[in-house]
Symmetry: C2
Subunit: 205 residues, 2 copies
Amino acid sequence: MEHLSIDTIKTWERFYRANFINCLSGFKSANLIGTVNKDGQPNLAVFSSVVHLGSDPALIGFINRPLAAAPHTINNIETTGVYTINHINPSFVEKAHQTSAKYPVDVNEFEAVELTEQYIDNFIAPFVAESNLKYALKLVEIVPIKHNNTFLVIGEITDIIVAKEWITTDGFINIDKAESMACLGLDTYYTATPIAKFGYAKATK
Amino acid sequence: MEHLSIDTIKTWERFYRANFINCLSGFKSANLIGTVNKDGQPNLAVFSSVVHLGSDPALIGFINRPLAAAPHTINNIETTGVYTINHINPSFVEKAHQTSAKYPVDVNEFEAVELTEQYIDNFIAPFVAESNLKYALKLVEIVPIKHNNTFLVIGEITDIIVAKEWITTDGFINIDKAESMACLGLDTYYTATPIAKFGYAKATK
């Protein structure tokens, strides 16, 4: 095992260092976030920083990079107040990753990467038709993180699209059976295999 | 596919609903956070909400539950300003999960679950000796999330312990080879298998 100090790592080449640091937080959830601007122009972008905040209310957070690097998704959410989060599956993971390219604001990434917009009831933000597990959110708060100009975007879940066969008797969703993927770093995608389910831990073990 | 509204889900039994909502954010990183209180008493607890915030500075966030439910880790971090994050491996995943039990504040979870404290240089927070990939952080900011009384704890990485054999030529870390695990919901742990690495996406594809 090697002991690396941050002072050493700061001397590394920029992309090498970014790859390395990006892996330290471990496996991440692989998602596409669907939004629409005030004129109805759809946007779709890959996000790996989705984090559970709480079950009641059902709050989900994600980290949006600085506005200069990634303005479209956060601007659309701020404007319309709604968005979708769609789990990425192996059948469309290459198209999903391609949404991370810097397309001009007037490009519809659904068309650019050939994924299918899906609209459910009167919800104005697009779902990804190809995704096996997806949900709609309404914006609760955008929390600026001043240390690096990123944002924690907090939303409340309003609707969920899922096949009942993946929900087990205790409410757990077998998302590996739904073919949801994990990702790591900037560009690597994984499937996951369950190893153990332990139940609620008690101190009197 | 089933369309479930949050109004339907709110009528579900509390634990069934919590399991269900907890799975929607997708695969998570499985970690143990090591801290120490002002008297040198160690604490170790499992956290699945670790999120990458940025590479330069190297910032990592995690979500701490409300103080009434989970006071020890956040209190220790606030007091000492330092902590460790240790990836969980299959060889000790059952012990790692057991740290989620509500032990009294004066119990050292390392002793309770039989994991090994490791101290490196003069860093006062304990690492998990059994973990193949781990890093030290200093506290940057604790951001309260007012909607559900949770906290985003932001730290800057200061030191990393990793085997060089897992670092690839572009800086990426093969954490699956380091046996890092993913988790889902409240109690289920996974190994991950790489499916695809795509590189930097360009809009001119």
